[in-house]
């Protein structure tokens, strides 16, 4: 009898809790992630990288959506926590040995590389873009950074900029949206973004992309083999990723977020 009573109490407390949480969720808008309310102790830290990983996107962006789909399929219990600082994401991987991190180009040092199991999810092309109002005659990109010498280049803190500096380019750091605003305001001359970024944020049609593509980046999840569940989870994740690719879920998620396969 007592056990049954306790269960009932827990049931009603849970319901009450859900009710309270819902109120708060509405009050604070769509960026409230389930992880904020979860007792789940495993976290996968993601670096804010719109439109792929971001609280501003539906289901926190395509990468987060795919990762969550695989986690669910493979019963891997973990929540994604998106952080606004790449440095912090690296910290959690390096110093706290969290289960995994998601993002791209982590520039891990030797010690971190040995414990990192990178599973690529999406490959995206990157391009240089400029503001057509700033350069009405256009810019031309032939693979040599020297033609941008003296210009202002915008990028994220933590990205490798040595080649730009060697070419005499002035580097300015910021978040994607702030950099795009600066490009719009002609305070930056050019920056490096993915095709989806241009599609998503080129509201005024002033951003022009330079062909050819500069290269490709791989967005994915890095499991930590120093975490007690790291090796096992990585194995399960790889299998799960293959499964959702095979059953069409992966393709559907990419299409849902990016509008193409």
């Amino acid at each position: 009898m007592f056990t049954l009573g306790l269960k009932k109490i827990i049931y009603w407390l849970t319901l009450l809790n859900v009710g309270l949480i819902s109120t708060q969720s509405v009050a604070t808008g769509p960026r409230v992630a389930p992880s904020l309310f979860s007792d789940n102790t495993e976290y996968i830290y993601g670096m804010d990288f719109p439109p792929y990983i971001s609280h501003d996107e539906i289901e926190n962006g395509v990468i987060a959506d795919i990762v969550n789909a695989v986690l669910k399929k493979e019963n891997i219990s973990a929540d994604i926590m998106i952080l606004p600082s790449k440095n912090m994401v690296k910290y959690y991987f390096s110093e706290e040995n969290v289960l995994a991190v998601i993002g791209y180009n982590f520039d891990f040092n030797k010690a971190n590389k040995t414990k990192a199991d990178f599973i690529p999810i999406l490959s995206v092309d990157e391009f240089y873009i400029y503001n057509s109002q700033r350069f009405p005659e256009g810019l031309h990109w032939e693979g040599n950074l020297n033609i941008f010498s003296g210009m202002h280049y915008g990028t994220y803190k933590g990205n490798n900029v040595s080649a730009y500096k060697e070419a005499g380019i002035i580097v300015k750091y910021g978040r994607l949206k702030s950099l795009l605003t600066q490009l719009e305001l002609q305070k930056l001359d050019f920056m490096r973004v993915t095709a989806e970024t241009i599609n998503r944020f080129n509201e005024n049609n002033t951003m022009v992309r330079l062909e050819p593509s500069i290269g490709t980046i791989l967005l994915g999840v890095v499991f930590n083999n120093q975490h007690p569940k790291g090796i096992e989870s990585a194995k399960k994740f790889k299998a799960g990723l293959q499964k959702i690719k095979a059953n069409g879920v992966f393709e559907a998620l990419v299409k849902k977020h990016l509008g193409h396969e």
């Binding site: 604070t28 600082s85 910290y91 706290e96």
Partner: protein, 439 residues
């Protein structure tokens, strides 16, 4: 030139009287000395003729009556200062935001002891930075908060949230590390108005490490900006609209705005850069000094998304007098009660920050209440005032002080950078306004 300035000043007073119907009383009626108040003219005019400041509006009130309201010098290169000139009051926004929070407190919608995470879930389970010895793979580690940040922590700047500009005030590696996270995350001090909502900024800020454990240090920072967003969440209204309908309108602060209406732009003062040695230049571009970024031209924006609870308001000396007088009257002005006496007593109590001192505008002996610094005693190095005097300032050299014992309000509004240069002038103004008491 002096003749021209004189003519413009006379015209300015004439024009300002036409535009603004403010009742001034003879100082003696409220126990102030006309002769002694004139010393303020001498002091401020000397600073203007020395080219230390371009101009200012100074207001002294006692027992609810304005006895001295003096526009001096120039508001812009071609515009004399007027009594109704509008100023970027920057951090003098903070007491207004704090009153807004206390309005919700009085409505039973929040408790000061509430964790902020109750309303903004991103604040749940924050981390605090601890620096590691040199040579460590990572220079820092993150430890869990001992308890969540509360609304009281935000009101009293004990949350562990910093200003980026604080790297210039009190540099140390830990502060530099926290601010580098702020930079990465696109957090700004709000002195320049970013193209985003305050909620977006606050939610990112909540994910970043705190400088100190909540309640364990007094650190002036973006805490009041968080309160601005908290007001939006709890009230369901945009922050500026809440302040307008609940504070500006009831107090008849007709010239106080987060974004100036177009028809008031001509009344906005220019900002000036002074080396305090005679070189005074109008500021025409953002002022960047390390992590400090000031954008005086953002005050000319007539609309925008960003609503900083710590910095966005533009106002006049008269409007701010009405706000300060409401506090001096223990929550009431002209028959309108905004706050209860007990709430104002709570806000102005001297013991909100324990053994910490609010050492920014002042030195030891100043504590922090709910929105402003409070003079704790007369034992420390202070030139004027009494126990219980409360005051705060703004980055473009604006300042207000309320002395409940003597029932005085002193307001000095200038637009002069850098901020630190005007401290001596301010101390002299408060000394002169205090020594004008003649009853």
């Amino acid at each position: 030139m002096q003749k021209l300035t004189g003519i413009l000043s006379v015209l300015a007073i004439f024009c300002s009287q036409m535009v603004l119907s403010i009742e001034l009383v003879k100082p003696e009626i409220v126990g102030l000395s006309t002769q002694r108040l004139k010393r303020l003219d001498t002091l401020i005019n000397q600073h203007i003729s020395d080219n230390k400041i371009a101009g200012a509006v100074t207001l002294i009130a006692r027992k609810g009556k304005i006895a001295y309201l003096q526009p001096s010098g120039m508001a812009d290169t071609d515009k004399p200062m007027r009594a109704d000139t509008i100023f970027r009051i920057v951090s003098m926004t903070k007491p207004i935001t704090s009153v807004a929070v206390m309005l919700l407190y009085e409505q039973g919608k929040l408790l000061l002891s509430d964790p902020v995470s109750k309303y903004i879930p991103e604040f749940k389970g924050q981390k605090v930075i601890e620096m590691l010895p040199k040579g460590s793979q990572f220079p820092y580690k993150l430890v869990p908060v001992k308890r969540d940040v509360t609304i009281h922590d935000l009101l009293t700047h004990q949350s562990g949230i910093l200003y980026l500009a604080s790297t210039g005030w009190f540099p140390n590696p830990k502060r530099e590390q926290v601010v580098s996270f702020y930079r990465d995350a696109g957090i700004t001090d709000g002195f320049c108005r970013p193209d985003e909502s305050i909620g977006d900024m606050v939610k990112r800020l909540a994910k970043l490490p705190l400088y100190s454990q909540p309640g364990e240090a007094w650190e002036y920072g973006l805490s009041v900006d968080v309160l601005g967003y908290l007001i939006e969440v709890i009230s369901g209204q945009k922050f500026d609209n809440f302040v307008k309908t609940n504070i500006f309108e009831p107090l008849k602060m007709q010239d106080s705005h987060f974004y100036l209406p177009k028809n008031k732009l001509s009344r906005l003062s220019a900002d000036w850069n002074s080396d305090w040695k005679g070189s005074l230049k109008r500021v025409n571009a953002p002022l960047i000094d390390g992590d400090l970024a000031l954008c005086p031209s953002d005050g000319e924006q007539t609309s925008g998304k960003y609503l900083s609870g710590g910095a966005s308001v533009l106002s006049t000396a008269y409007d701010y007098f009405r706000f300060a007088q409401m506090l001096l009257n223990q929550g009431k002005l002209d028959g309108t009660r905004l706050l209860s006496r007990k709430t104002v007593e709570l806000m102005t109590a001297t013991n909100h920050i324990g053994h910490h001192d609010a050492e920014l505008l002042h030195s030891k002996g100043w504590k922090f209440g709910l929105g402003f610094a409070i003079q704790q005693d007369r034992q420390h190095n202070v030139d004027s005032g009494d126990k219980g005097v409360f005051e705060w300032a703004g980055y473009y050299s604006t300042r207000f002080s309320v002395n409940p014992t003597e029932e005085t309000v002193t307001i000095f509004l200038s637009q002069t950078s850098p901020f630190g240069a005007h401290f001596g002038l301010w101390d002299s103004i408060t000394a002169l306004s205090t020594s004008a008491i003649a009853d």
